[in-house]
Amino acid sequence: MLELLPPLLDGAWLTVRITAVASLLAAALALAAGLARLSAWRPVRALAAVYVETFRGTSLLVQLFWLYFVLPLPPFSLELDAFTVAVLGLGLNIGAYGAEVVRSAIQAVPRSQIEASVALNMTPALRMRRIVLPQAALAMLPPWGNLMIELLKGTSLVSLITLGDLTFRASQLNAFTFRTVEIFTLVLVIYFLLAQAIALAVRAAERRLSRGIARRTA
């Protein structure tokens, strides 16, 4: 069974890289779209709502296929390599879900906090950066952790746009060796361990952030 591991771990490394890069893109998009949904300007709110609804309302695989098969053809003629498509598709998709996490966490910050910072004559930007976001970040973490695991699981779809990730390697090995039971069991275990690693990291981050808050209120 051990000889199956190197090719699988090779694929797992690509899975990890896609997860990492796509999660950065997703975080940036989630923050931008989440804030935009709370904007005072109606067109900005509408634009963010269209982004969120479009990417939450269509399926991830459809989005990946659209970027992979439709974009290179006219009228777009924009050819992206598969890795870019994977990162872009997953980032846009998870970013749309993340925008709702950001929005609801910001709305959950107690009103008195905002009133106090207005009373202290803080500019809106300063208020957001120093008062609202640090408190919202703690509320965001648990749902964000779940989204990261969704992102990790979503990376398995990139095997369908020819990227050699863990799922792709598994299908490939399966076609060569027919050691179906071992291969797919190993792959499930590897994905499970990766998901547990994400869950642990999020819990550690949670502890760190809440320690800071406890100190401040003490």
């Binding site: 609804e53 479009t54 939450r56 309302g57 269509t58 399926s59 991830l60 695989l61 459809v62 989005q63 296929f65 659209w66 098969f69 439709v70 053809l73 006219p74 009228p75 695991i149 990790l152 699981k153 979503g154 990376t155 398995s156 779809l157 095997s159 369908l160 799922t167 598994a170 299908s171 399966n174 179906t180 039971v181 797919f184 069991t185 792959v187 499930l188 994905y191 499970f192 998901a195 547990q196 869950a199």
Partner: protein, 220 residues
């Protein structure tokens, strides 16, 4: 949109709608199984016997944190090794149902944990068996509040049905890909598939929100 051939789109629409029936069928059957299996898993997870609750809890955790695509492959490629040969469609629906039953189990668990202790105690005091307790006392109170959450997972499952194309079930996505490779036009078929999912999701989320409001009114 420039380049979007409306004539071609209209021409392939009947083909896509026919494949969409497979998509809807897979969703309905898959979710029907997930709703029942999830409830069973949730009740087993709440069991006082650790040798039931711990393995079931681990199973739910495992299924939730591994990709649906691999689970579908598992049903399609691995089960035959154990003598269970399923047609692609059945394997796909089994994968969907198993994956989402882990999610619905967590939803039910939230509902079950919302039941006040006094209800259980009263059922014991009235000498009701576990079956009657669940059927007549606990579930009628635990399930209605979680219906919207179940609805959201129904929508999520619907959006995951394109994964069945990976084991060559000719649902909507696979049909669009076939049209694409036959005609070298991907813009119309894949865009139409996206629009189909978008419309269905928007309509069904609006329905879920309505149910949610209803429930909130009834409680208030």
């Amino acid at each position: 949109m420039e380049g979007f051939d409306w004539g071609f789109a209209l021409e392939i629409l009947p083909l896509l709608l026919e494949a969409a029936r497979i998509t809807v069928f897979a969703t309905v059957i898959g979710f029907a199984v997930a709703v029942v299996l999830g409830l069973v898993l949730a009740i087993l997870r709440m069991s006082r016997r650790w040798f039931i609750s711990v393995p079931v809890g681990a199973l739910i955790e495992f299924v939730r944190s591994t990709p649906l695509l691999i689970q579908i492959y598992f049903a399609f490629y691995v089960l035959p090794e154990f003598g269970i040969v399923l047609p692609a469609m059945v394997a796909g629906i089994a994968g969907l149902a198993l994956h989402y039953s882990a999610y619905t189990a967590e939803v039910y668990r939230a509902g079950l944990q919302g039941i006040r202790r006094g209800q259980w105690e009263a059922a014991v005091a009235l000498n009701l068996g576990p079956w009657t307790t669940y059927r007549d006392v606990v579930l009628p109170q635990a399930i209605p509040p979680v219906v919207p959450a179940l609805g959201n997972y129904l929508i999520a499952m619907f959006k995951d049905t394109p994964l069945l194309s990976a084991i060559a079930v000719v649902e909507l996505m696979q049909r669009a890909k076939i049209i694409g490779s036959d005609t070298f036009r991907y813009l119309e078929p894949i865009t139409l598939v996206g629009v189909f999912f978008l419309v269905m999701s928007l309509v069904s989320s609006a329905l879920v929100r309505r149910v949610e409001r209803r429930l909130a009114l009834r409680k208030g």
